[in-house]
């Protein structure tokens, strides 16, 4: 058999089962903790560590395979397609929360205030409730709170993320042109901007909880605000870690102008979280 043009098929995959065990321990522990068992927290931590171990092992194995030249163009195409469809699934995940936000703002809040066929509901259940956004609902759930303004930290964060998108692309240009220094500086800047973004986000949350009394429990405004920005912040963290790994690999000299799927995947992911942020900035903070 001529192995030079063969599709590479790995054997003896031991990481997936480790991942399944880790995922079950993590989620099972989490569920137990939600039910009030303190033991379960430990299980959750163990599960998390197993997942981290799995990722090191799995990705490490793939990197080894890549470095030893087992992947050719055709495998790279599979990886690229896989990443694109994965990002599409992430888009749909966020679509669920954006959909909830739009439904709440366009339908459920006005209906509660008597719009459409909601006149009787308003009259008899929630008399005097008016549809203004943001709202914590006719039940004043969570008590007095203040809105998170758009033009303080969020605006700075927008600038940070947009800049990081530029530095990321600049790093990519460096990689394609075989300018290693440009690649490494660009990536380092991107990672740094990403982590500053996450730091500012933490600051913003503590401002919200401590000074604005804006919590997850502040009615639908608090719910949609923290759910959307929270999942986004989580994705930024993941993306920044991915880019950090790419930085380490770039310094080690893993990528060539022709062969750098992992870098591209991380960069696409980064642009995706960037775009989601624009949606957040417009619909959650600004309008």
């Amino acid at each position: 058999m001529s192995s030079d043009n063969a599709y590479y098929i790995p054997h003896d995959a031991k990481w997936p089962i480790v991942g399944s065990v880790g995922m079950s321990l993590f989620l099972g522990g989490f569920a137990g903790q939600l039910n009030g068992s303190s033991m379960a927290t430990n299980i959750m931590i163990v599960g998390f560590l197993v997942l981290v171990y799995m990722m090191f092992g799995w990705f490490g194995e793939v990197i080894d395979e890549s470095e030893s030249g087992k992947y050719k163009k055709i495998e790279a195409v599979s990886f690229r397609m896989g990443m694109v469809w994965f990002i599409f699934s992430e888009v749909m995940f966020f679509a669920a929360f954006f959909g909830a936000l739009f439904y709440i703002r366009i339908y459920s809040v006005p209906w509660l205030a008597g719009d459409g066929s909601g006149a009787a509901t308003n009259e008899f259940l929630w008399g005097g409730f008016e549809a203004i956004w943001p709202t914590n609902g006719p039940g004043d759930v969570g008590g007095e709170y203040q809105k998170m303004g758009a033009w303080g930290l969020p605006a700075i964060n927008t600038l940070l993320l947009l800049t990081s998108g530029v530095t990321c692309t600049w790093a990519h240009w460096g990689l394609v042109a075989n300018k290693r220094k440009q690649l490494i500086i660009g990536l380092a800047a991107t990672v740094l901007l990403g982590f500053i973004f996450v730091g500012l986000q933490v600051l913003e949350y503590s401002h919200g909880y401590n000074e604005l009394n804006l919590t997850m429990g502040s009615g639908v405004y608090g719910s949609t605000f923290y759910m959307l920005t929270g999942f986004h912040g989580f994705h930024v963290t993941v993306g920044a870690i991915m880019l950090l790994v790419m930085l380490v690999r770039s310094i080690k000299g893993h990528f060539t102008p022709e062969n750098h799927f992992a870098f591209e995947a991380a960069a696409w992911y980064w642009h995706f979280v960037d775009v989601v942020w624009l949606g957040l900035f417009i619909f959650v903070y600004w309008l």
Partner: protein, 526 residues
Amino acid sequence: MTTVTDTHDDHHDHGPAAGLMRWVTTTNHKDIGTLYLVFSLIMFMIGGAMAMVIRLELFQPGLQFVDPSFFNQMTTVHALVMIFGAVMPAFVGLANWMLPIMVGGPDMALPRMNNWSFWILPFAFTMLLSTFFMDGGAPAGGWTIYPPLVLQGGNGFPYMIFAIHMMGVSSVMGAINVIVTILNMRAPGMTLMKMPLFVWTWFITAYLLIAVMPVLAGAVTMLLTDRFFDTTFFNAAGGGDPVLFQHIFWFFGHPEVYILILPAFGVVSEIIPTFARKPLFGYSSMVYATSSIAFLSFIVWAHHMFTVGMPLQGELFFMYATMLIAVPTGVKVFNWISTMWKGSMTFETPMLFAIGFVIMFTIGGFSGLMLAIAPADFQYHDTYFVVAHFHYVLVTGAVYSIMAAAYYWLPKWTGNMYNETHGQWHFWISTVSVNVLFFPQHFLGLAGMPRRIPDYAVQFAEFNMWSSIGGFVFGLSQVFFCYIVYKTIKGGEKATDQVWEGAKGLEWTLSSPPPYHSFTEAPEIK
């Protein structure tokens, strides 16, 4: 992509690893396909046992065997197990086995991830089923997990949510693998419009899966935070709306029912031409019909919510959009019939199940059309009429196609013929009993018997008794099916490579059973 390398340097290592670890660490599409299929059969029997409990309780009016709360746990978990544990994994198993072969490739495109897609499932279902032993029992609010009811469940609630998350992760990874395999692993010359229909329907199914499973994940995440983290997405006091959950759920849910039926369309489109000994009538119209069904499935979701008090324009839009789906569905049914028209037909077991599918799925389609008429649905909604509808499309539709596929490809997979007499018996007993089981439920529903209720008024007694008898016979005949499958795996008359006289397609050019790596040399596509 003409040959396959191993991670091992030696050139003779082609077989599977030895012992149990073979199944845990395998990256081979056939091994993983087998795992999926066996898992799905086990889940089918577990879900079936729950159905037996339901039918036992409903045999007579009054409460006799189980208490109402347990009854509700049965209906809820029966549905979750059958949908996510039996039907979906069965189709993924078929996809794993057949897609790489049908497109002339060596394996699935992402073999290691393929392993993980499967190996999440046993853990997810262990988590789901473990809720039976928890405080408050298993989830009992129905498989549609509507708030606020589902939020009142016991300790099992968060486990169910996370089990659904895990199933979603598994499905999305499986679907990504299917799409990439189809797009990237085809043999030279296998153009898109030459692909077998099973490949086409799975391609579109995979797209639907990637588009809607994350939406379900989002929906159940909001349930979780509403219960544990003080959010009020589905609580009017905080400005939310329980109906919002229904919208998000059915935005997933309706495409999901097409996820359950499109691969079935593919299977039937493979089998009917073989036994009619004629090429499929209207191949390209089948492809276009499948695509338009997939598109339309995104804009009909609220036909499940006609009675929640939507604005009139919403009722009308979703009514007409739903009826529109009947057009491409009709195209398919007519194509299958035209394929059989003037064919030289024989009626081996796979063909029987395929014909049974065409007839009985169409019955389910018609009751669907009745349900789609918004004003009429105010009478039908949440009655046994809906139960009859979705069991015709799901049992005599999706499950029948899986049976057909099993009989059709078992000789290829195992190298052994199944016992034809047994297969014929299995078909006829199943078909008679399934109609005794589900047809009377139409009348019960029209007369107003509500679904998900352990007790009922005495005027419904007779039809319920018939339904239960049909149910028990149908259940037993599936045990017989397990026996037939087991016997075929163990031995039997040797199958030829071609297996069926009229069979066309790449899978029949390989030996029965096929070599461990499918096409190590890319086949020639005519």
